[in-house]
Symmetry: D2
């Protein structure tokens, strides 16, 4: 909901591809919406792994000179959103270990729920951690297993529980691994000269590749000696793709589990409109950017004009100054501006993808009314968020979630909407045509044990 939810990462890999670092740079650029705080690439020339990483957008971290110095045909890269407490440089990925008989680079998207237990176990066995990222845990687990690298990676995948899609690269091989619940997406595609691996398919389309393969839950894919081998490290699998990937994170041009994200969003708008037969509004607007598809779908179904009622300021820059006290309550305005000539005197249906804390929704409704809207009917293209996520989405703690504390009517009143409606879970499922979803943030039904997070939840 407009800056309130954050995905934690995107991963990209390139196997036997010329200028692997450059290709990864472009791939990460396409995944930038999944994380803007830091970016890194590790490249292998067959003998050595070189690492470059830093804070900022991929295009700012990597200059031409830096990229040119990264020679090799294998690479893994990462974009990262970091939560408040974890902005240290130590957590920027890839994490690389340098051993006497070789190096390993790892990039990881997701969140491991038995992270605390594993960390303690590893430390008790003498491991030291320099950062707080899950990737370091995965690296330690791989290191302490016995067997070939593939066996060690598979054993590791069986030790960790939660949401994960990770890539492991040594000098000449890449392994791609997806968790057994399928919580986070991961796909690969054949490129002209090799293979590319990505959190989202949009990175392939940018390269002119329109066909790709999704990893299945519990699957490990090996890229070695030019051959791609699929294998399952676990047979205990199920299908729980994160619903928020469809609702908010993924780029509209990505295809997640066979469903195009834009098409999904349009369908949610359409479904919302279906139930609004009696609502006679003048125009339909969406909160940019993620809710525009749903608004278009709603407008089409309802036969009400779709309008551009809110404009998003694109020029965020590196350092946006917090507004002074006097401007504080108007801070939303700096990022989002109402089009008064569009909304003035109008009864409006405003589509948003979700409501987290309610404060932003409240401000946007206010913006529209200040600009002259007579009525604002808020329609949310997802169910009420009632529970925190432990699978890699930074929503909020339970006590900050307005949906955990208020009824829909109370929320409506709080945000000053004339009417308010959310989607049901059933409607969500309809929009994904039966793809198995994780709806834990809506219904509290987590598909894994929560380990130490259970306590946090119980509070």
């Amino acid at each position: 909901m407009f800056g309130e939810i954050h995905e934690e990462c995107g991963v990209f890999g390139a196997y036997r591809v010329d200028n692997a670092a450059s290709i990864t740079y472009y791939g990460l650029h396409s995944l930038q919406h999944r994380g803007q705080e830091a970016s890194g690439i590790a490249v292998s020339d067959g003998e050595n792994i070189t690492l470059q990483k830093g804070k900022g957008l991929t295009v700012d971290v990597f200059q031409r000179e830096k990229l040119d110095s990264m020679v090799g045909r294998l690479a893994v890269g990462h974009v990262r959103y970091s939560t408040a407490g974890g902005q240290e440089n130590e957590n920027i990925q890839p994490i690389v270990s340098k051993g006497h008989n070789g190096s390993l680079a790892i990039v990881h998207n997701g969140q491991i729920v038995n992270e605390k237990e594993l960390r303690i176990e590893l430390e008790n066995e003498g491991a030291i951690f320099q950062g707080t990222s899950d990737s370091e845990i995965i690296l330690h687990l791989i290191q302490k297993q016995k067997g070939t690298l593939k066996e060690r990676v598979m054993k590791t995948a069986n030790r960790i529980e939660g949401a994960f899609s990770f890539l492991v690269m040594n000098e000449d091989t890449i392994y791609a691994v997806r968790d057994r619940h399928g919580l986070r997406p991961l796909s690969y595609a054949k490129s002209k000269d090799g293979y590319v691996i990505s959190s989202e398919t949009c990175a392939f389309e940018v390269m002119g590749i329109y066909e790709s393969v999704d990893l299945k839950p519990g699957e490990i894919v090996e890229f070695h000696k030019g051959i791609v081998k699929h294998e399952f490290y676990s047979t205990n699998t199920d299908n729980h793709m994160c619903a928020m990937e469809y609702i908010y994170f993924a780029r509209p041009d990505s295809v997640v589990e066979g469903i195009n994200v834009h098409a999904f969003r349009k369908a949610t708008g359409s479904i919302l409109a279906r139930e609004d037969k009696d609502l006679h509004a003048d125009i339909v607007i969406g909160v940019p950017d993620s809710s525009l598809s749903a608004a278009i779908g709603y407008a089409e179904e309802a036969g009400i004009p779709f309008e551009t009622g809110l404009i998003k300021n694109r020029y965020v820059g590196r350092t946006f100054i917090q507004p002074t006290q006097a401007m504080r309550d108007r801070s939303v305005r700096l990022k989002l501006s109402p089009v008064s000539s569009v909304v003035k005197g109008k009864s409006i249906v405003m589509i948003d993808d979700s409501i987290v804390r309610g404060t932003t929704s409240r401000r946007i409704v206010q913006l529209l009314k200040d600009a002259g809207a007579t009525q604002v009917h808020v329609r949310i293209a997802s169910p009420v968020i009632t529970s925190p996520c432990f699978y890699g989405v930074d929503t909020s703690t339970k006590d900050q979630l307005i949906g955990a504390k208020m009824s829909v009517e109370e929320i409506r009143d709080y945000i000053h909407a004339d009417t308010l409606r959310f989607m049901t879970e059933e409607e969500m499922k309809e929009a994904t045509h039966g793809v198995g979803l994780c709806l834990a943030c809506f219904n509290g039904e987590y598909c894994t044990k929560l380990f130490s997070y259970q306590e946090e939840l119980d509070k």
Copy 2:
């Protein structure tokens, strides 16, 4: 057309407003779409004028500390797009002159056509120029006139010909001046404690101000001793608002000469659709961002679904690396990505705002066909560009304009569109409900003498 046309500037002023530098910062942030290369603010505390400027986005040039150090209740600011040859620091505005009996700060949007003649005249009289910006000329002209500051500004406005909206500030007064043809917009509004002046009204809406006054062609407005005085420095005026402001530059939430920009764009789409009764396409798409409004208008009128067929990558960063040779021909992809699941197997109407050189259009059509579109019908929401602009728009020289060299059918063939249609001038006028427009880039009818530029044109 997607990165091919550039406006040169935006200006903002604040008069008797608390924290004038901060307000100007927010104002410039709203005008950032008019120029992203450099930004500057001059502030007066009643006795001294302080200047800060630099390359980059407003939010990157000004840190909190820098803003806090700029004390005062009067300010003028500027955002700038700089053409290839003029990126020197000397040209970043405001330009400030420091004299023994006071300072003057000037910010300017537009282009002066008798610039070369004035420059020679001034130099012959002993003036020295440190940069190549028009603002320095204006400053010199003001300085050499006799009389009060207001008289000198008015005389200056009568000496310069072309497109201009400029602000002049001394320690306690601001003058806002608009050219006598009304080529560039300029408005002001009452804020809570004073007045704000802006190239576009969107900057007011961001501040919660929904009413504003446009300067008329040939007008000078004085902000002095708390009073606002309107006056005409010339009676020889006409109405020639730059059509490109509506078509491409202005933000959709701005109101230009009483017409909302989004509404204008939607109307152009609607008019285009009106003539396409016999075209039976599956979907309508727009080239983001400037052509989306027109596409929505087209879809509504034609009764064909509006779809998100192209995604723009928002994360441009400070330094985007030029793709390597191998990636060269795919460079458009990095900024614009087709949604293959939307366009595959579809007959598409693609709305774009204009065609300049044709190369980008050609690439976008190719993108869509590669992604599976069966037909691409290109509709341009403006007439054919046949002539260069000398009023502040960086289109291209005549020999680079595809419309100056090819017929519409030849252009269609070049860009590989299935069909191609432009708007007529009459249709443009219809969409602006009779606002007087400068259509020189379409029809070669310049509303001023061109002075030294005439030669350039005649070549």
Copy 3:
């Protein structure tokens, strides 16, 4: 006196020299002691003048790429120390004017005393000033004269009064000009392929050139069509080389008016020792770096061991944090450290080049006593500073000069020295073997009218 006095500038030029920008870069690097705040180079390729400048050391402002982009065989460059009020970018030199029939670049070292009068006169004639540097005045004066460039430069040199050594470059010629009192040094030398011009000869020695020509007071030297022509723009000349160049500013390896700076300083130490026949100290130390030569001279003459009693920290970096309140009184320590094992239990002669405000001297004496020195006899290798300088040295205003307020005995008491002695003017002259000196800061005898500065002085 250790960070209390500042020279304002150094200039360097290269005429018909391959890679003139690189040569100037190295030249400025050798002159860096004359100014560390900003640096700039303008280069001419015979047709155009390119300018690059910025804040910081020459080696930090210019990267390889930037230098390589500056093609041409003529160049002028500048290093600058800026006084508190004038750190704006507008004052960084070279200042370049860009006219329709050519450009001019100017670099200037010194201070013009009729600056205010000229500024008013020029402004009244319509000139505008963007900065506060003298260079802009010189540029304006040149521009408004009639005649050839050489004639205009000569007329300009006759209009300005004070201390100046400046270079003017157009596309194919360089003029070097020195004030008619000879207050600031300026020399040139034949290089392998052309000529180099410099504020100090040390820049030549760095290039392996050991022979150079000093400009005489009132002289202009033209470098044009490969020929060097000397001419006098004034016959009303005298010899007043700034004594501080010898005492503090110039690098020890420079030769100023035929006298090597190190040799001069050693001689002052020797002269000081001559008068101290009855002083029986254990060791002689100098305040690094400028007073070491004098200390060596003293030790040699007195037959007392020269010791390293104070160590200067070389690693100043770009941004030295001001010590917290608790550390405030120890701030000198961070730059200067006593060698306790050297000074402990010793009676010391401490040589310093001058005393300005007295605060630093007081702290250094304290440092030495804290470290165990039993006696500290301070000897100053120059007379008492009693008057401000208006010729380009940033000492202090009169009320800050301890020598203007206290007797020698009072100063001795204030700085807690056991004994204190300054040189006499006669001794200074002895050390320069009769070179004509400006001793205004010691005796208040200014060799020019002071114009508006007279008032400042009279206060």
Copy 4:
């Protein structure tokens, strides 16, 4: 020898000191001569350890804001010189491990000779290394031992062989450890409110502290609950202070093993002069900065004037551009300039601290002769370097050492000196008054086993 030898590190610690991070900042500033490539500080507030580090000088890595954010009364810091292959960010110290029951920060000066063996052993037990620094090994060893932290640190100190002085900090305790051969210095001192620990005593003098305690070889000092406890982790100790600390690295104001560094250097000069009774030179000069003390000692003993014959350019900046091909052979000039008026026509004794590859010496002699010196008698204030160092000094590999390949006469011929003499080992010992020295680089007698480095040496 003027930029050819590099020390690898300096460490500083603060225990129960207000603003420990600021104090450490000033301490590291005093140790900057031991490493200029990177700098870092870890601070503990009793509960958490905060880490900040980066490339560059201490004063550039730490801004006021950053320091202020580092709250706590315990801190350890590090300055680092990094060899060509190890400039990665991963190697910047402190290295901090973050465990579920606490954090550890480590800073280390020296070189561990059984590093490779330990690394393999640790990796085989599952450890992963993210960098290549010895500190990570020490951290791993501490982590895998059993017992209290002190016991683990002591066991670790017994596992590592070579040169080391390291500090380990957890939330409330600091341990300082010195290797059992005493190869690297480490001292601590009582400050007003707590204790400070430093590689060199000069850091204490800067704070006005003139008394300090050296750790003995094999000693561990615990700072815990306000108490300082000394203990030996090994009884198998000997005294082998690195001779290069005296000759080149340490600051002249430091006291190493009771001997002031400046006094040592002066003594070496004096000893060199003693053997030169028959040499009748005109002047004595030293290569700045490290050889000036010796030159002063020589001059005093020989009764020949000490002169400033070479000037060092202080303004190195962050990025010094490599001279172009044409300037290549003159590159020494940019850092070192002869004073021609001092050396011209003179017979010179030039004191340098050492000769490594001979190329720099050759260039300096050439500089002096070009500037007019008639004779250059080179005296080296240390013996001939014949063997590489494995204890933390980056001299060179054996095949690059001129002393390993040539006789003294051949070296003299190569560097074009008129005469050349080195000190003997006996004379070195005389200058240190019997302090036990490591002279391995002179005589190849290493005080430890060399493990994997033995092979390197045998080649």
